[in-house]
């Protein structure tokens, strides 16, 4: 029997980026907020400390900061007719666990969607005709536009101290930036970080082909910076250890560094860690979530925490699973196309390549994801899709994120994988290779979705969430097109040797690809075709606000965190200025 606790004003289910942003906005408005986190507390002074964070085996190989799959995982199958099996240890994607969530170990690549992305279905119909979009492609317009979100993109940029080069400042195209981006109301808070040697070569080659290269925007401050919360960030040291690890210089943005110090000092905020939220308590009549049930993993005790406002701020899979378990919203059925919860699961369609330059010295261990150069000429509707046979696109980049020795080595295809020949090839090429990637969009498909698994359960006895996903013909064509464009640039760099990496036919959960999962609780303007309204308020429970990339109707050609942060601020603004004054649906159904 769960112990019933005293009601609080608001409870956060998950304490990553969106939990931290919402908790901060709500405590500022005078609410008492409880943050629930199933993982450990991660205080930068302990968890981000040297020399510990320089341990590639612990963080990059053994995945110290990632979700504990012994307690909870997801099941996976490529096609609806397959039997789904549990992902016993995450590989293709790596959701984080603990305070800060996936916001600790991300690389910090920080993007905005294109203005056109927000009305993609309408735009494609206008441009290419009413029959252009295949029936199986279930993409939708967002119920918010770029102008709605721009002030909140700007707010999140400033929270993070993003480094970059503006391409469109209040409508004026500025040289050196991304000319395709939506107008920015303000410049990036920090100048771009230094560009690596190989990315600079990529930029020159791209320019020679008529493209528009620019430094990748990154949530890593290039200089000491004080964010609007009054928190001082350090300077990037180009240590090459961003990915899968915390930043000891406090330069890479994380909830732990950029927001939580203020929340931890706020008496209105209470953090509870190692508590696992098992279920939302849903009052169907009142259309409210009255409480959350959780198990304290330290004691095994079960608690019921009543709350006036509930913010679902866990990862894509957890958000969707909670709705399905609580019976909030109609589960999606791919056979009929009816229902919405679990619909439009999308991934990120990354592909790329590697090039080798004999005799060059790239010092690849000096790295930071933002040392990279990108072009956006083939993203979204930045180019004409007439006659191409696909929609969507992505940015193309030459990356310079560091080359730690276990995971950051490359040798040309056909080199021995072990033995004396392997050693010679490794030494020859370690310092003079560079990698490229294409950040492809995923346009939703009728058969790619999430529901509850009928067989497998988590450590607390709940059904696992089941993911049914495979790459679509559209996305494969899109990806081959991007890789073809990339190959043209790579050739113009004149490497000794290069190879392009295309996506395999079937999606596989084994090698790492991207942690950019989206969908399942998508936002929209109609309750029949969406789970949350434009303010991320659940249509079926007015005091439930769902955050994160689970609300994306589809995945665009960018890393999602920039848009996740902007949406969190946008939603928080609606809660504090509209909902708290008059609790009820913010959009009439």
């Amino acid at each position: 029997m769960a112990t019933r606790l005293k009601e609080v004003d608001a409870v956060m289910v998950g304490m990553g980026w969106t939990g931290a942003i919402l908790a901060r906005a709500l405590t500022k408005s005078g609410l008492n907020v409880v943050g629930l986190e199933r993982g450990a507390d991660r205080n930068p002074a302990d968890a981000f400390a040297l020399t510990r964070v320089r341990d590639e085996l612990r963080y990059v190989v053994r995945l110290e900061l990632m979700q504990d799959n012994s307690i909870d995982t997801i099941t996976f199958r490529n096609e609806p007719e397959d039997m789904a099996l549990p992902i016993r240890r995450f590989g293709a994607f790596l959701p984080g666990e603990g305070v800060g969530g996936t916001g600790i170990h991300w690389g910090g690549l920080h993007w905005r969607n294109l203005p056109a992305d927000f009305r993609i279905r309408s735009l494609l119909t206008e441009k290419y005709g009413a029959k252009a979009i295949p029936e199986t492609m279930t993409i939708q317009d967002w119920p918010v536009g770029y102008p709605d979100l721009e002030p909140f993109y700007d707010r999140f940029d400033k929270l993070c101290g993003v480094s970059g080069q503006a391409g469109n400042l209040r409508g004026t195209i500025t040289p050196g930036g991304n000319p395709f981006e939506g107008p920015r109301s303000d410049d990036y808070p920090n100048k771009p970080i230094k560009t690596g040697v190989a990315p600079a070569m990529f930029g020159e080659a791209a320019k020679s082909l008529g493209y528009h290269p620019f430094p990748l925007p990154v949530a890593t401050s290039s200089a000491p910076y004080v964010n609007p919360e009054g928190i001082t960030l350090g300077r990037c040291e180009y240590c090459g250890h961003c990915n899968r690890t915390a930043c000891e210089a406090n330069a890479k943005a994380s909830p732990n560094v950029n927001v939580l110090p203020v929340l931890r000092a706020d008496p209105r905020f209470e953090l509870r860690t190692r508590v696992f939220v098992t279920r939302l308590v849903y009052d169907r009549q009142a259309r409210r979530v009255t409480a959350v049930l959780y198990t304290d993993l330290k004691t095994g005790e079960e608690y019921e925490q009543p709350a006036g406002l509930v913010v679902l701020s866990s990862f894509v899979f957890g958000n969707t699973q909670q709705l399905l378990l609580a019976g909030i919203g109609e589960p999606y059925d791919p056979r009929t196309g009816k229902g919405v919860v679990g619909k439009n699961y999308c991934y990120q369609f990354e592909a790329g390549g590697v090039a080798f330059f004999e005799g060059r010295e790239f010092n690849p261990f000096m790295g930071a994801p933002g040392m990279s150069v990108a072009i956006d000429d083939f993203n979204g509707e930045n180019f004409d899709h007439s006659g191409l046979g696909f929609f969507g696109g992505g940015y193309i980049a030459c990356s310079n994120g560091g080359a730690p020795p276990i995971s950051g080595r490359a040798t040309p295809h056909g080199s021995p994988r072990w033995g004396a020949g392997w050693k010679q090839a490794t030494v020859k090429w370690y310092r003079s290779n560079t990698r490229f990637n294409t950040q492809g969009s995923v346009y939703a498909h009728r058969n790619n979705y999430m529901d509850l698994d009928p067989t497998y359960k988590d450590a607390l006895g709940r059904p696992l969430i089941r993911m049914t996903y495979n790459g679509t013909e559209n996305d494969h064509k899109m990806s081959r097109y991007l890789v073809g464009k990339l190959e043209g640039i790579v050739k113009a760099m004149n490497p000794t040797h290069y190879e392009m990496h295309y996506r395999p036919k079937n999606f596989t959960v084994v090698p790492y690809q991207s942690t950019h999962n989206t969908g399942g609780t998508m936002t929209g303007s109609d309750p029949k075709t969406s789970v949350v309204n434009r303010y991320l308020q659940a249509w079926d429970a007015h005091n439930l606000f769902i955050q994160g990339a689970s609300v994306f109707p589809q995945q665009h050609g960018y890393n999602p965190t920039g848009t996740v942060g902007a949406l969190a601020y946008w939603s928080a603004e609606a809660i504090t200025t509209k909902y708290l004054r008059s609790p009820g649906p913010l959009v009439s159904a």
């Binding site: 002074a45 016993r88 406090n250």
Partner: protein, 243 residues
Amino acid sequence: MADEKVNESAAPVARRDFLLGAGTAVAAGLAPASASGTEESKAAPASVPTTEPDAFVTLTAPEAAFIVAAVDTIIPADELSPAGSECGVAVFIDRQLGSDWGGGAKVYRSGPFLKGKPEQGYQLALTPREFFSAGITAANEWTRKSYGKDFDRLSAAERAQALKAMDEGTAQFAGFGSRAFFGQLLSITMAGFFSDPIYGGNRDKVSWKMLGFPGLPAIYADKVDAYRDKRYVAEPQSIADFS
């Protein structure tokens, strides 16, 4: 490209500064405050490999013999490095298989255990420790059948040939996938050769020296531009050098 040798000891990052985060995090008051550093300059980097014999806490004697022979074949002694076991890779594997990871920590281990498609990833009930144990047994059975001896008794050329057969999946193990086994063996061997020496492999930072990887402290803000297209060389430093 010119090799520019840099004597890092001329301007070392003071140990205490490094532990406190040499960037501006110190000024921000956010840097770790619990470092037990003292003001003296750092100790000389360890330069003498351990002279104690390797002893194994997890692997049985036949398993250890297999692992030593395998890592010495995957990483043979040559002018670039000593053999894998001399670099501590066998000890590394022994300790890893005895660690939480070796025991299956953080792995979903509920049934039913069904054979899936390759796209669905590892689906066996075995922990890494159990997987290696079963794999070594199967490998030795196969070499006994094919060569008349356990793997570690084979000549160097035969061992290379046997590992190649496992790598290509042509070695027919009884009830076990030779290719999957070799994949895991290769992966843990590379981890042992290249990880920080704190785990027992990469003795004397031998692989880092081989690559030119400087290890810690990795503070390069003032070096990125100074070493554009110029080789940056520093005596590698490991976690233990700052402990």
